[in-house]
Amino acid sequence: MDKTVPDLATAVAGIEDGMVVMVGGFGGSGAPIELIHALIDRFKATGSPKNLTVVNNNAGNGRIGIAAMIDAGMVGKMICSFPRSADPRAFTEKYLAGEIGLELVPQGTLAERIRAAGAGIPAFYTPASYGTDVAKGKPVAEFDGKHYVQERWLKADVAILKAELADTLGNLTYRKAARNFSPLMAAAAAKTIVQATKIVQPGEIDPEHVVTPGIFVDAIVEVSDPKQEEALMRAGVAYA
């Protein structure tokens, strides 16, 4: 059961209009730039996928990655905790023009909602945001004398992620802080698509060191020299 696919275009072929797409990464660390750009290529060639809801901690930076998706007009809504960055122009322009939606979620709640989706937990309580504008309209409850907000799981149709090593069964490792949301998203999405810096044979990743077990992964494509979003942004690169 080899989950590798031959190229980036094949990897992103099943992503359809209107889907909820989780994109790994925190800022530039862990951003699957090549998968994102392959998706933009498809949109530019075919007009699809469009009207995507994108889940990421941020809302793009500069003129690459998620920012380039927004500029291309593929994104109908962002679900994120911090839609700002060094250069948030792409999102900011569309948001202030009312051309893109925003669901703002506290970062820990975003992580836990994604984790809950993967773990089959439909709802949970968190202290975060209790008593704030962000909690308006959400159920609250008291436990042991303290107040909490009820939050729902957050599922996705697809996750696109960047890993360091993948074996052909989909077992993954990540690189340093690029791990961030990716193991959670891998479990929360109906289909998980991964670009890995290196694809190895089963058995080449120590079972003790697997971070994302292959059960959460559907397709793997090797991108042996992946671009780093922050480095691209600082170099002033635009993907268009």
């Binding site: 993967g118 773990a119 079972p207 697997v210 292959g214």
Partner: protein
């Protein structure tokens, strides 16, 4: 031909429906036999609740590593591409719907999909283990069981009399006499022993069988 399938034959029949690459959890005991009967060319990946994915056969006696066990606390081995993880992640795989198939034993299964496989009543020490989680979340929850109890009473019933493990959770039942799907809270007969009439099967089943146009022959090799 025997008048009913042996446990090994029931396990063999259940194994035939597991796709290549499927993620599978086999309940403790009798269901563990299913692993032995995977068809050639189809390689399932087995999950055990205590935090191992892609384990293989039992080690040779004397070679056991007792830190490497399955949910039944039997020693196991690893296949290439295995992974370890903690219990919360493991049950996240279960509840989160990531398993393709869970195959469980049972005391009773009802036509509404209710399962009773954890307690035979209030006497003794109750113990539930992972059963109440395993019945939720797998895309397909199948039961393998003798069609009747040792004293001849139906195990496939209208409503469970024993304490429930889960509500409306079973989708397929493999028995010593038949294969049935649970659809719209009814037992739909898919296969039966060719030596047995529908009436004979109905007589040992505690709920009404729905009879589709096509009913296959349940045939298993001698094992």
């Amino acid at each position: 031909m025997s008048t009913k399938l042996s446990n090994a034959q029931i396990a063999w029949r259940a194994a035939q429906d597991i796709e290549d690459g499927a993620y599978v959890n086999l309940g403790i005991g009798f269901p563990e036999m299913v692993a032995k009967f995977q068809p050639p060319g189809k390689q399932a990946i087995f999950h055990t609740e205590n935090g191992v994915l892609n384990f293989g056969e039992a080690p040779v006696e004397g070679e056991e590593d007792w830190d490497l066990i399955n949910a039944g606390k039997k020693a196991i081995t690893l296949r290439p591409g295995a992974a370890f993880f903690h219990h919360a992640d493991s049950f996240g795989m279960v509840r989160g719907g990531h398993l393709d198939v869970a195959i469980l034993g049972t005391y009773e299964v009802a036509e509404n999909g209710d399962l009773a496989n954890w307690s035979t009543g209030p006497r003794g020490v109750p113990a539930v283990g992972g059963a109440m989680d395993l019945v939720h979340g797998a895309k397909r929850v199948a039961v393998i069981t003798d069609h009747v109890t040792k004293d001849g009473r139906p195990k496939l019933v209208k409503r469970c009399a024993l304490p429930l493990t889960g509500v409306g959770c079973v989708t397929r039942v493999y028995t010593s006499l038949a294969v049935l799907d649970i659809e719209d809270e009814r037992f739909v007969l898919r296969e039966k022993l060719p030596t047995m009439s529908v009436a004979e099967l109905q007589a040992v089943t505690g709920a009404e069988l729905v009879l589709p146009d096509q009913i296959g022959d349940l045939v298993a090799p001698e094992l």
